[in-house]
């Protein structure tokens, strides 16, 4: 009996481990070089009955990719024979770009997207209300061009092709690029 229990526990933990491996291959449909793990939205993977439970935290409230990602996660884990897969949405703590892995940041840069700077300023982390500077053309911190590395860049548009990005251009190499906004 003891051996059987151990076997069950081992198979459950092996299942969770394999599910994590599978999740590293599930890509964000809007930035298809980042896996859901690189993006930092997989908060936990648990053994649940014969299958697994994946705990996800959404990026933006209105991100249209949220449901696509949930389905992709279910399909990938089921296809690996580890299902049935249950998705649990966990909203708190809210997702922050600080959860994007170093590997994810490297992949973003190689893909031509400038990765986000640190979002958790002390005043925000403490839960205090962040002061908003209501001044025309707020000077944004310099964003490095992901192609040539120059910090001489300018923002073209505060919003971009998806909720998570803004548009920039490099004044050195003249290339336009996207920037993953820190939130």
């Amino acid at each position: 009996m003891i051996d059987m229990d151990t076997a069950v526990i081992e198979s459950a933990s092996a299942r969770v481990q394999r599910a994590w491996q599978v999740l590293h291959t599930v890509l964000d449909p809007e930035v298809p070089v980042l896996s859901v793990c690189d993006l930092g939205i997989v908060r936990d993977v648990l053994a649940a009955g014969d299958g697994v439970e994946v705990v996800l935290t959404p990026t933006y409230s209105g991100c249209p990719a949220t449901e696509v990602i949930e389905q992709a996660v279910i399909d990938a884990i089921d296809a690996a024979g580890l299902g049935p897969t249950r998705i649990t949405v966990q909203r708190a703590p809210a997702w922050t770009t600080d959860w994007i892995s170093d590997e994810g940041r490297r992949k973003l840069r190689e893909y031509g997207i400038a990765p986000p700077a640190c979002a958790s300023q002390p005043s925000r982390a403490a839960g205090a209300s962040a002061p908003i500077r209501l001044v025309a053309r707020t000077k944004a911190p310099a964003i490095e061009c992901p192609r040539c590395g120059s910090a001489t860049t300018e923002r073209l548009s505060a919003f971009g092709s998806t909720a998570c990005k803004a548009l920039y251009r490099c004044l050195a190499c003249r290339e336009p690029f996207e920037h993953f906004k820190p939130i």
Partner: protein
């Protein structure tokens, strides 16, 4: 029009959430009207992105309202199958983007309303992070970051246009004259928010008045715009009594669900 309307049991907590959710929903719907029509491509994208965030926030709020109501109503039923009187958005968000000269869409009107509403939402979300309802607190923790970005962007435009050319300043003054009288509704308290404050669901709306006014005064000063005088006019959208514009928005929004009940993508 074949799908019957749903009846919502409007407890104070459900009303409190519908007021927030409907205000986000209707503003998001209004901003969607700019898609393909904004003065420049960057602002077309910006307005669509802001609309998307607002509709995402509305979805979570309406879902939570349905859960608290306990009658099995989901976000889609609440968004598409209520009668006008059951929508509880503040009136300011249902006004069309019309300019003083009769243009169907006036960008000055849009950016000023966005600045007023993003400031209000940001203050509201900051308070709602402390809600006794864990789900609402979690929704607020996410939405406050989005509102902060919306506020920065729209405030930036208010300054550029208010302190811009004669034409842009004239349009901003006209927009301010129209919109300012609708702000008091955002800061009036009644039995609904008194109940929410008592059980910790969320703040009384009148507690946001002073911080909002302080930020708006600073913004309008930067934009070289005078704060309008107070008016005795009071709008009443959050109690379900709307302007003549509301029915047209709902006709647009509800048409598909009424014609094709339960239709999904």
């Amino acid at each position: 029009m074949t799908t019957p309307s749903i009846q919502v049991e409007l407890s104070p907590s459900v009303q409190y959430l519908l007021r927030l959710g409907d205000t986000a929903l209707i503003l998001g719907q209004r901003l969607g009207e700019w898609c393909g029509h904004a003065p420049v491509l960057e602002e077309d994208i910006a307005l669509a992105n802001i609309a998307l965030d607002l509709i995402g926030q509305a979805r979570t709020l309406l879902t939570r309202a349905g859960e608290l109501e306990g009658q099995g109503h989901d976000e889609d039923q609440l968004a598409f199958l209520r009668e006008e009187r059951d929508y509880r958005n503040a009136t300011i968000v249902e006004l069309p983007h019309s300019g003083a000269a009769g243009e169907s869409r006036d960008f000055a009107f849009t950016v000023l309303r966005n600045a007023m509403m993003a400031t209000w939402f940001r203050l509201m979300w900051e308070r709602l992070r402390e809600s006794s309802d864990a789900e609402l607190a979690a929704i607020a923790g996410k939405a406050v970051k989005e509102a902060r970005y919306h506020q920065q962007h729209s405030a930036d435009w208010v300054v550029r246009l208010g302190d811009g050319t004669d034409e842009s300043a004239r349009r901003m003054r006209a927009a301010l004259d129209t919109l300012w009288r609708y702000a008091p509704e955002l800061f009036e308290s009644d039995a609904v928010d008194a109940s929410a404050a008592a059980n910790g669901l969320g703040p009384r709306w009148d507690s946001l008045r002073e911080p909002w006014l302080a930020e708006m005064r600073e913004l309008l000063a930067d934009a070289n715009l005078d704060v309008p005088a107070d008016s005795a006019f009071r709008s009443t959208g959050k109690t379900g009594v709307h302007t003549e514009h509301m029915g047209y928005i709902l006709a647009d929004m509800q048409h598909l669900q009424r014609a094709y009940p339960g239709g999904v993508w």
